[in-house]
Every structure is written in structure tokens, then in C-alpha cells.
Assembly symmetry: C2
Homo-oligomer: 107 residues x 2
Amino acid sequence: MTNDSFYKKRKVIPIGPVSELTGLTERQIRYYEERKLIFPERSERGNRKYSFNDVEQLIDIANKREEGVQTFEIRKDMLKEKNKQDKELKEEMLRGQFNAQFGVRKK
Amino acid sequence: MTNDSFYKKRKVIPIGPVSELTGLTERQIRYYEERKLIFPERSERGNRKYSFNDVEQLIDIANKREEGVQTFEIRKDMLKEKNKQDKELKEEMLRGQFNAQFGVRKK
DNA sequence: CGTGTAAGGAATTCTGACACG
DNA sequence: CGTGTAAGGAATTCTGACACG
């Protein structure tokens, strides 16, 4: 998750191609945004822009929905996942701090 | 060049964002296509779709243009570059053939 | 709850052309 | 040659709403 390509994160894909890429209707994609499952950027005049990460996320959502999972449940799982990642990141940074002060010098 | 991310190659970005990303006008981008420097895909009804590779390519083109290089020269350089890559790929494949028949077995 | 649809408007993109040089 | 621009049309996207369930 840390070495995601730079490009996977750039939000540049309009909703039309995202719809093709995911197999979801635009209506569904917008609804998942309303339910806080996905967070596109907006162009100056309001057009949604998605990243490839968003596309992957939407595919995950689509799979869960097919299993009958409700958007509310999906959201909870996402928050849980996010929390875990934040915690890992924090530990990672602490480790860095520690090594910088007491660890062996890298050459 | 071989390990380009999958995502760098997907043609999904419309000309507007490409223009922002590269600093080129849409007019310029379309003109470079006319001059065979760039090859977007088209959506069903004709809208151009670019990849991140295309964006990088366009930035290279922009730099060369600033140096005063003409599109014709840029095109020649690109073809030369492409030839080189094709040749490398062919050698690579021959090597693979060779190893499969006579090389040491990998475990 | 999750999704479809018709509605009207606004923004995007397209092409071919004329302009300058 | 490379780029700007005005022109008109076609396609895209947006929002808010009504519908079904």
C-alpha cells in the first residue's frame, strides 16, 4: 500500500470511463459518494475526477454489494481498515525517529 | 520501460485534464496528434482519451518544442527510439528461446 | 435502501476554417 | 510551421426529484 504508483493516485478520470472500467452505472457511483464510500475530486466547474485507486475501490464495493453487504457496512469496514493503516504508519514513523537517534548509522 | 505500471498505459484521461497536466493548450495537443507524435484512443463518440504515458510523452514534446525542435524532428527521434526498443525486445525474446533450449534449468 | 429515469442546464469536446507569418 | 480563435453542434456531466419497494 505504501509503494502505490504515483499514477494510481492522480484523480483525472471522469465518471464515464470509470463507469466502463467498473461496470457500475453513473448513478451507482454517485450514490456511493453520497454514502461516503468514495471521494472524487472536482474540476473547477464541478465535474468528478477519479483515480485508478478509486476505480479499484469501486470494484471492491461492487463485489461486496453483490454479496449483499449494505453501504453502511462497507463504510464501517473501510474506516476500520483506514484506522489500521494509520496506526501502522504511526509506528513506522516512531521507528524512524528511534533509529535516527539510537539506531546504527546506515551508510 | 518494460516494467511500466499497468495504469500508466490505460487511456482514460480526457483532453482537458491532459492540458492542465502538461501545460499545453488543447489546440497544441490536437496538433501534435495531427503530426503523429501522440496517439490517443477515442471514446465511442470520438472523444480523445490519453494515458499517463501520453502525458509524459507530451511533456517531453513540450520541452523539445521549447528548444525549437520542429515536430518533424521530434517524430524522427521517436521512430528511432521505437526501433531501438523493438530491436531490444527481439533480442530479449531470442535469448529466452535460447535459454529454454540450451540454457541451464532454473529451479 | 439502492437504483432507474426523465428534465433542463451548464461545461466539454469535436471538426473545419480563417488568421498570422 | 505552429498556434490562436470564433462557430456550431454533439456528447458529457451535474443536480434535484419522483418512483419502486
